[in-house]
Symmetry: C2
Subunit: 331 residues, 2 copies
Amino acid sequence: MTGHFFEGAEKLLEIWFIASNNNNDLDNDTLSNDLRNIPRELIEEVLNLVNCKVLKYAKSATTDTYVLSESSMFVFQTHFVLKTCGETTLLHAVQPMLELARDYCGFDIVDQIFYSRRKFLRPELQKTPHTSFEHEVAYLDSIFESGCAYVLGRTNVDCWYLYTLDKTSVSTKSDQTLEVIMTELDPEKMKIFYQEYTSSASEATKKAGIDKLFPNAKIFDYLFDPCGYSMNGLLPNGHYFTIHITPEPDFSYVSFETNVPYDQYQEIIRKILKIFNPGKFTTTIFGDTAAISLDRQRKLFLYSDYGRIDHQVVCLVDYDLFYSYYKKHPS
Amino acid sequence: MTGHFFEGAEKLLEIWFIASNNNNDLDNDTLSNDLRNIPRELIEEVLNLVNCKVLKYAKSATTDTYVLSESSMFVFQTHFVLKTCGETTLLHAVQPMLELARDYCGFDIVDQIFYSRRKFLRPELQKTPHTSFEHEVAYLDSIFESGCAYVLGRTNVDCWYLYTLDKTSVSTKSDQTLEVIMTELDPEKMKIFYQEYTSSASEATKKAGIDKLFPNAKIFDYLFDPCGYSMNGLLPNGHYFTIHITPEPDFSYVSFETNVPYDQYQEIIRKILKIFNPGKFTTTIFGDTAAISLDRQRKLFLYSDYGRIDHQVVCLVDYDLFYSYYKKHPS
C-alpha cells in the first residue's frame, strides 16, 4: 500500500440562521422557518458539490442526521453541522445552503457561522479553496461580512483554524460544543475498525465501547471497506455525538464531537481516551462566556498519562473558546 | 509625498542566556558571564547586518541602552532586547549575537527567546527572512530546537506573531513585559513629533508628557528629520521603557514597551492612551503564570472610549501571555 494516504482531518462547518420574518408557528401549508423543510434530494445535490454521498439517513423529533461517505451532517431547525474529511470541498456547500435556507425556510439572515479544521497532514493534496487557510478565509470573506480568522496552537507543529463572525448571535447562546481530535492512535484499538477483524459496524461500536458512551443514544454507524468507521448518535433535546475513525497506522486519526452540556466534558474526554488511547490529542471547547471560570478551566481538564503542552483561550463575543493540546508522557 | 511609506511596526527580539560554566563572581581578568562585555564596535557590526545604526548610547549600573536609527536595543547581564522597525532584517542578528555571547561572555546556552511582531502594514516591502511569518519561523527553526510559533488576533484583520521556545527557563521567571501597539493616532498629538512644530527631542518628550510617565527615568530621546521620534528610558532595578513614533497620518504608528512590574500596567496603559489617543491599539502582556488570575485579567484592562474586540490568553511554560485588541467607540 505504498503511497496510500487518507486525510482524516475534517473540515467542520456550522451555520445558524434567523428569519427577519418569523414563521415558526404557522401551519404546514405556509413556509415555516425550519431547515428540515429543505427537500432531501436538494441536500444531496449540495453534498455532490462537496464530493460526498449519503450512506445513512435518519431523523428524530429535533434532528435529521446523515452518515456520509466522508463524515457526517446534522440538520436542526435553525442550524446545521456539516463535517467532511478527505479531499472534499466543504466550503462549496456554503452558498447553496444559504440559498436553500432562504428559499425553503425563509431564513434570510445568517446568525452565526463557525468554520474550523485542524492543520492537514498533507495540505498539498487538498482542492480549492482548501489549499490553505488563507484561501479558505478569502473564500468566506467573499460571502460574509465581519468574519474573523483565528489560529490556535503552534503553526509550526500542530494547529487548529477557526473562522467565525464578529457579531452577537441571537440563537446560539445556549449551545456548546466539544471536539476531541486524536492522532497517533493505539494500533491494537484501531484493529477493531478493519473489516478483516470485525464483521459489522454495530460489532465495531460494541467492541470499542462506543455504545457505552451515551447509553440512551440512537446510533447510526458504518464500517468502511477495507477499514474506517463513522457513527452519528442522536440524544434527547437535540443533542448529538459523532465519531470518525481513520485507523491506518501511518496516518491514524479519530475525531469525536458533541453538543451535550459543558459540565459533562471532562468525564467524556476521560472515557474517549480510554477507548482510543491516542499519542496526541487536542480538545476544543466552545462554552457560554458567562458560565465559565477561566481559572477553573485551567485547573480542570488535566489527564494522567498526558501533558498539556498548549492551552489557549479566545474570548469571542458570545463564547469562550478553549484550545488544548495534549501529548502522552514517554512510558 | 505620494508613495511615501514607512513601516513603523517593529520586529522585537529578546534572548536570555545561561552559562553551563558559571563565572559571575570572578575578577575582571577572567571571562565573566555578562553580555555587556561584548565590545561596542562588535554590537555595531551586528546592527549593520540588521541595517540600522546607533544614534545614542548610554549605560546605567544594570543596562546598556542604544537609540537606533530604527528603534532600540537594551543589553542586560543575561539578556538583550532588540527592536527594529522599517525594512530592517532583525533576524540576521540572531546567529552573530549567539556567537558573541558565547565568545565574550561564556554564554553557551540559550535559556529562552521571544521573537514577536505585529502584522506588517505592507509585508511586500520586507526583506528576507521577514517576507512572511512562515519564513521567519523557518529561519528560527533552523537555529533553535523546540520553537513554537503562535498567531494571536485575527489573521484577516490585525494580528500579532510570536516565536518562543517550549522549555522551562532558568532566568526569565521574575520578568514581565507590556507592549502597547497603537495605530490610527490622533493627528493633532502626532504634530508634536515633526521638526516643523517641535525644535528638539527633549521638547517633544515634554510637550507629549512622556517625561511624566515615569518621573524617575533617565530619558534618551531622538527627534528625526523631518518627523518621527524614539526614546529609551532607564529606571532603577534594570527596568526600562521605550517609545517609537511614526507620526505620518497615512501610516501612523506608536509603540510603547516596558518591563516594570505587572501591577502597574493598567494605570500605565491609561496614561499612554491619554498621551496618544489612538483609534486602535493592541496590548500584549507576558506575566508570571503563578501570579495572575485569568478571570481577574479578563475583568480588568477595560478602558472607557474603547471596546475590547479581541481577548486571548496563551498559557506558555513559564508565562501567561495576554493579547487584547481595542477599537475606539464611534463618537
